[in-house]
C-alpha cells in the first residue's frame, strides 16, 4: 500500500535521479560540497512553492497567486529585516503571518464566496503583487548575512536548505496531512459531495487548505530572500507556473484527491536543476528556455500516452 501511495511520485523521482546522474557526468564538480549546496539552494524555493500549490490542488482547486505571495513575502522580508537579529526574527515571523493571511484570504473567497479558485487566485494575484509593489516598488532591500548563510550555507555536504525543507516537511506538512484535516483535504478533492455527506465541512477544509498554501508560500518567500539577499515583488511570477508544473509532474492530479509531497518536491528540484544542467552542458542560453518548456511538454505527454491505447472511449473522456 505504501508503494501504491508513492507510485505517482515515481516519474518525478526517476527524472530527478537521471538528471542528477547526467549533471554529475557533465560537471563532476557538482559533487563537491559547494556544488551540492548550490543545487539545493536553486530548487528549495520552488519546492516550497510546490507544496503551497499541492495542498490547494489536493482539494481540487488551483492557486495562481502562489508566485505573488512568494514575491510579497520576499518584499516584506527584504524591506523590514534590518540588521538587528531580534527585529529580523520578528519580521520573519510577521512575514510568515502575512503569507498565511494572504492564503487565508484566498480561502475565504473560494470557500465562502463560492467562486472558482482559478479566477479568485487570478484576482488575488494582482492584489498581492500590488501590495508587494507598494512595500517595495523597486527591487532591493537589505538582508543580513547571518540570515542568508543560515539558510543557504552548508555543513560539509549537508546544505542548510535541505534541512530547512526537511524541518518544514516534518513539522508542518506531515502533521497537517496526517491529521483529520489532511484526510479531509484529500477527501474533498477526491469526491466533494461524498465528503460532504460524510460529515466533512467542505468550506472549512478548503479555507484551511488555502491558508496552509499561504504559509508554505511564505516559507518559499523567506528562503528566496536568503537566496537572493534582496526583495523583488514581481520575482514570483515564474513560481506560480512552475509550481503547477511541479505538482502535475510530481504525480498529483489537478482534479484533486491524489498526491503526496515527495513527487512535487522532486519535480521542483528537477525543474530547477534543469537550467543548471543545460548551462553546464554548454547549451546556448537561448535554447534553455526552449528545452525547459519542451521537457515539460514531453514528460506530460509521455505520462498520458497510455490513453492512446485504451480500449474504451469512455476511459479517455473521464479526466
Amino acid at each position: 500500500m505504501i508503494i501504491e501511495r508513492y507510485y505517482s511520485s515515481l516519474t518525478a523521482m526517476i527524472g530527478l535521479i537521471l538528471l542528477v546522474i547526467l549533471f554529475v557526468y557533465i560537471q563532476p564538480l557538482i559533487l563537491s560540497p559547494f556544488g551540492v549546496t548550490m543545487s539545493a539552494n536553486q530548487g528549495t524555493t520552488l519546492a516550497l512553492a510546490a507544496l503551497a500549490q499541492l495542498v490547494v490542488v489536493l482539494t481540487g482547486g488551483v492557486d495562481l497567486s502562489v508566485g505573488a505571495m512568494v514575491g510579497l513575502t520576499n518584499a516584506i522580508a527584504a524591506t523590514y529585516m534590518g540588521s538587528d537579529p531580534a527585529i529580523s526574527i520578528a519580521v520573519l515571523i510577521g512575514t510568515l503571518a502575512a503569507g498565511t493571511l494572504a492564503g487565508f484570504l484566498n480561502g475565504m473567497v473560494v470557500a465562502y464566496g463560492r467562486i472558482q479558485p482559478i479566477i479568485v487566485t487570478l484576482a488575488t494575484l494582482y492584489i498581492y503583487t500590488g501590495i508587494g509593489l507598494v512595500i517595495r516598488p523597486q527591487p532591493g532591500g537589505f538582508v543580513p548575512n547571518w540570515f542568508a548563510n543560515a539558510l543557504t550555507g552548508s555543513w560539509g555536504y549537508l546544505p542548510y536548505a535541505l534541512v530547512f525543507l526537511l524541518v518544514l516537511v516534518l513539522l508542518a506538512w506531515v502533521p497537517l496531512m496526517r491529521s483529520r484535516l489532511g484526510r479531509a483535504i484529500n477527501a474533498v478533492g477526491d469526491n466533494r459531495n461524498g465528503a460532504r455527506v460524510s460529515g466533512i465541512s467542505v468550506a472549512r477544509t478548503e479555507l484551511w487548505a488555502y491558508t496552509a498554501g499561504g504559509f508554505f508560500a511564505a516559507c518559499a518567500g523567506i528562503f528566496l530572500t536568503a537566496q537572493t539577499t534582496s526583495g523583488d515583488a514581481t520575482i514570483g511570477t515564474s513560481y506560480t507556473l512552475n509550481s503547477v508544473a511541479a505538482v502535475v509532474f510530481g504525480g498529483a492530479m489537478l482534479s484533486g484527491g491524489r498526491g503526496v509531497a515527495l513527487g512535487p518536491i522532486c519535480a521542483a528540484y528537477f525543474l530547477s536543476l534543469l537550467i543548471s544542467v543545460l548551462f553546464a552542458s554548454g547549451v546556448s542560453p537561448f535554447y534553455q528556455n526552449l528545452l525547459q518548456g519542451g521537457v515539460l511538454v514531453i514528460v506530460l505527454a509521455a505520462a498520458n500516452a497510455w490513453r492512446l491505447r485504451t480500449r474504451h472511449w469512455l476511459n479517455v473522456m473521464s479526466n
Partner: protein
Amino acid sequence: MADSSAAAASNEAPALEASGIGKHFAGVIALDDADFSCRRGEVHVLLGANGAGKSTLVKILCGVQPPDAGTLRLNGETVRLHNPIQAAELGVAAVFQELSLAPHLTVAENIMLAHEPTGPFGQIRSRELRRRVIDLFEQIGIDHINPNTLAGRLTLADQQLVEIAKALSHDPKTLILDEGTSALGREEVRRLFDLIARLRERGTAIVFISHRMAEVREIADRLTVFRNGTNVGTVDAVDMDESHLVELMLGERIEQSFPDRAPMPTDKEPLLAVSDLNAGELLHDISLEIRRGEVVGLAGLEGQGQGDLLLALFGMVRRLSGEVRVNGKPTHLGSPWKAIKAGFALIPEDRKTQGLLQPLSLRENIVLASLHRLTRGGLIDRSRERRAAEQGMKRLEIKAESMETPVVTLSGGNQQKVVIAKWLETGGDIFLFYDPTRGVDVGTKRAFYELIGELARAGKAVLLYSTELSELVGLCHRVLVMNDRRIAEILEGESITENTILAASLGVGDRHSANTEPATDHRKAGAAS
C-alpha cells in the same frame, strides 16, 4: 416476513420518529408535513415514485440537511441534527445511492472518514484505524475485501458494501439504506439481507428504500408510501397488497405491470447480424441477430459483458474483430459517429451524466445528435430545429412547459423520454438500452415499457440490457443470457421465465435450482406469450 418481535407490540419509543417535516428548495416543496417512524428491530420499507420526497427525507433524517419545519425524535428524545457525524453519534446513519467514497483513499480510510481515531496531537492513528475496520468487517461478516485497497479499485457492488460498513462503523441504532441494493447482484443482495436480518435481531431499526418489489416483499416488516412529499399510508407487511401500494404511490390505478408484447417480427432477414465479435478481454465470440420489430433482451449476472456489448455495438470500444452487418451491409464500428450513421442508438447507463446536457433545453437536447441534418449553409435552421423538437415532444408525450425548459427540471421519466426522442430524431433503427430502469419508480417504468412496445411496433430493433428479470420476461421476444463475456444461452418465447434466465445466468443445467426464488409471473393472466 411476519413481524413477531416484541418491539411491534411494545410501547417503547420508536427508534426514529419524524413529525411534520417540511422542506423546500428554491420554491419547490419537497416535503410537506411529512411523518415517518421506525421501530427498533424492524425493517421499514419506504416506497414512492421518484420525486416523492424519499431522498430528501433521508437526507434530513441523517443530518445532511436541516428541515424547514417539523421535529425529529431519536429514541424518544427530540434532537436537532447539524451534520452527518453528529447524527451518527446520536444513532442514525445512512447509505445513499450516490457513492460517498473517495476513490483514492483506502477502504479503511473511507470507512473511518471524519471520525478517525486520533492521538494527542491530532494525528490519525493508522494502525488503530485499520484494526477497528478489521473488527468491523468481522462483525458484519465481510471477509473478501482488503481494508488496504484503494476504494476506487473495488467493484461497484463491493463499494456499496463498504458504504454500508461505513454507516455501520458508527454502530447506529437506526440504519437507512437509500437504494442501497441497486448496484448489487443477487449474491450480494443475499449477503446484505443476511446482514440486515442480523441487525434486526440486535434491535437496529432499518429504513429501506427500494424500487425492487421482489426484495421489498422479502425483507419488509412494515411499509410506508410517500407521494408528493407526504406520507400517504403505512401498512404491515402481512397486509401488503402490491397493487394497492402502487396505487398509493401513483395516486391512480394501473391495471397491469406489462403492456401487451409487440407481435413477433415477421421479417426473414435480420436488421442486425453480428458474427464472431471479439474485443480482447471484453467480449468473446459474440454472434447474434435481431430483426425489425424484435425486442431482444440481454441477461446474466452483473459484469458478464452485457454493457460492453452494447458499448461495442455503439462504437465505443476500439479494436473490435468480427463482422457486423446492418441490413446486410457490412459495417465498421470504430466510433460512435460511425455507429450512428449505421443506425444505432444508445440509451446510456446514466441518463443524467451520459444521456442529457442537464442545463440545456429540451430542444437543444433533442436535436443534439441530428444537427448535421438541420443545418443549411453552415448555419442551424431554427425553424426546422423547432419542428423537430415539437415532433419529438409530441411523439413521446413529454410533459414540460415548453421546449425551452431546461431538461434538469424534468422528472426522471420525462428525461428518459427526451433521450429516446433524441435518438428517434436521428432516424436510428437499432435501439440499445443500457439498464434503463435502474433506480426508476413504478410509474415511470410502466411508461417506459409502453415505449419499448411502440418502438418495436414502429419496426425498430431493440436490444435491451436489464438487471430486472421481470422486465426481460415481460418485454422480450428473445433473451440472450451472457456469461463470462460470451452468449451462454438463448431463450425464446415460452421458455423465457425468471427461473430459466436465472439458471442460464448461473450456468446451471438443471432448470429447477433450489436457490431460485418462486417464479413470479407479472404478465397479465391469459396474455399470449
